[in-house]
Point group: C2
Chain length 344, copies 2
DNA sequence: TAGAGGCTGGACAACGTTGTCAGATCGCGA
DNA sequence: TCGCGATCTGACAACGTTGTCCAGCCTCTA
């Protein structure tokens, strides 16, 4: 064949290996390995020769082979919902920092809230033999991870608990936070309060709805089903639902928004509404202080950090039953939640 | 030793291998490989037996070994500045989507703007033999990547060009965008305009400053050095610098902010200022529409997508000299940039 | 019935590294 | 000068997978 440019084989552009370095330095393979890994027992002169050969060839150790031999990848996987969601940026970053402190790298992927994709991603990470896995569940059945966990993949769930298996989890107090937020609205005189939430199939969505109902019940207030909007966080649908609540015969006078994206949409929708409507949102948002949006803030970075630390403790051999850690939330009163109902 | 709990060896909790599957199914090793990889030449009956064995043992292929053998990892690396920065979330997500479409996973890490950390991270990714690398530079000398690129690691730089080496790059038009933004302020009557920017050592920072100077010069306006604040994006320092510009004997009447973080700080600082000050910021920000902040928007997702697509084209064998792609920016007039100077 | 040809299955080497272990070398004292 | 440690070095196997290649079997035809 006249196929001259064709590579002789399939490999990484023919990178030099330890064998090549050894040949060039005139030493044995293992000696190169020793130098590369800083093991003792190499004369300074030999070491220098090896370093020169490494330099000259541009050698870099192939960690794939190393992993195969050693059994640990020093890599952890993070399956989250959407890296573009501002809630997950700090969370992911916090995980990364902890990983870095433990000398590990982070592989991450977004599930886009699709359970199949979460599973596909988590299993792909397991196939790469990540040492541990941090998962923000999209689905509610994680039995598919059982063989992996049994095989030694440390696994911690964040933001939402695992479904159908018993595993470590680090959560925010969705129920308590929502209850507090709605109680805050009630304390400011509201009696008809709308809840705009996530899919109730998602744990956090369900918990926040439960918190809403609990606060209403605590105050002896009725809840009408038309005050509750669940389902997608699609802006158009959310916006339409909000408008409907506001123009009903007996309109709501305040809204509780179930997560950051819903809150943003709600703020946009309310901005176009003639009269002020009270609003409390779950999750803090950048610039919310300037817009005067009252929120129930959760600490995304703390969630990530806590989960990662637990993961590495498990990797370091910590035993014991799976635990669930719940982190508290903070109500930040900034104006929108303190608007009184119209004195109609 | 009475060390009963000790693992017999170092490996992944003794996961089953293809060999184990083969033994259990009563077939040869290679047959299992064929079934796992969907290769032809296996009778349905044999295939069924193999699948049963896989199921029963909870076998999952070890991709580390696979990678070692095949030479491709189907993984790309992304070195960015800070995953928690809302600018990088969508960028990272876009890269991930493209990678996914090509069946690859994404490993990412934050350099925290430290050149050493960028290098450490990039080389660690190379050691894991990522097929390609997307880098948002923190440093300005990337010669350390030369051996890697020569060895076949496709590399694309994003947001800022590579330093001291010739490589593909996908950038936003920082110069043009800044020039347009400042010209916009000038068109609204401002003559004393402050520039609050990034470290000028960073390419984007320098380019935006250059755009500012060009716009001023185009209009025949002088630039005083005390109108320019460079250096860290640390909120306190930025805030102090802004206050200084506003309270000088001849105060600026408008500000151009060099990036999203600076814009946020500027907005906060200006909110506490007695009289309105015009502001245009580089980078769009969530909720900026509601706050009426005029910005020069760049499309972070498009940057990431374009870079990733180029990377995979290189991986698919596209040759040719390194190219630089520059994406345009968009001025979004929302109010803050259209404030007229005080008629003093 | 025998041979050709197609299909299935398995033995073996190789990927690049590290752990084990034994051999080589050196310095020093007797 | 020889022997003995101590120190340094290298041969070899193994990690779990895939590519190559050959053997066996089955079917179909002459």
């Amino acid at each position: 064949m006249a196929d001259i440019a064709r590579r002789t084989d399939h490999r990484y552009g023919n990178r030099p290996t330890m064998k090549d370095v050894a040949a060039r330095a005139g030493v044995g393979l293992k000696t190169v390995s020793r130098v590369v890994n800083g093991e003792p027992g190499v004369t300074p002169d030999t070491e220098r020769r090896v370093h020169e050969a490494i330099e000259a060839l541009g050698f870099r150790r192939n960690d794939s082979a190393r992993v195969l031999r050693k059994g640990r990848t020093a890599t952890i996987g993070l399956v989250l919902e959407d890296l573009a969601d501002p809630f997950y940026g700090p969370l992911s970053r916090a995980v990364e920092e902890v990983a870095r402190a433990h000398g590990a790298l982070l592989i991450n992927g977004s599930s886009a809230e699709e359970p199949e994709r979460e599973q596909e991603l988590a299993l792909a990470l397991c196939a790469r033999r990540v040492d541990g896995l941090i998962v923000i569940p999209a689905g509610d059945d994680h039995r598919y991870l059982e063989p992996e966990i049994r095989a030694g993949v440390a696994t911690v769930f964040v933001d939402r608990p695992a479904g159908r298996i018993d595993a470590d989890a680090v959560l925010s107090d969705s129920f308590g936070g929502a209850r507090e937020g709605v109680a805050h609205l009630i304390a400011h005189g509201h009696r008809r309060i709308g809840f705009v939430g996530d899919r109730p199939r998602i744990h956090t969505g369900a918990e926040r709805l439960r918190g809403y109902r609990a606060a209403m019940e605590d105050a002896g207030l009725p809840v009408r089903e038309e005050w509750i909007s669940l389902g997608s966080t699609n802006p158009e649908r959310v916006s339409a639902a909000v408008r409907e609540m506001l123009t009903a015969p007996e309109p709501v006078t305040a809204l509780f928004a179930g997560n950051n994206r819903v809150t943003v949409t709600a703020v946009r929708t309310l901005a176009a509404h003639p009269s002020p409507v009270a609003l409390v949102g779950f999750d803090d948002i950048e610039l919310a202080d300037l817009l005067g949006i009252t929120v129930i803030a959760q600490d995304a970075a703390a969630l990530g950090r806590t989960a990662a630390e637990r993961l590495f403790r498990r990797l370091d051999g910590a035993g014991g039953a799976p635990e669930r850690v719940v982190l508290g939330t903070t109500l930040l009163a900034r104006g929108s939640g303190e608007i009184a109902p119209p004195t109609a």
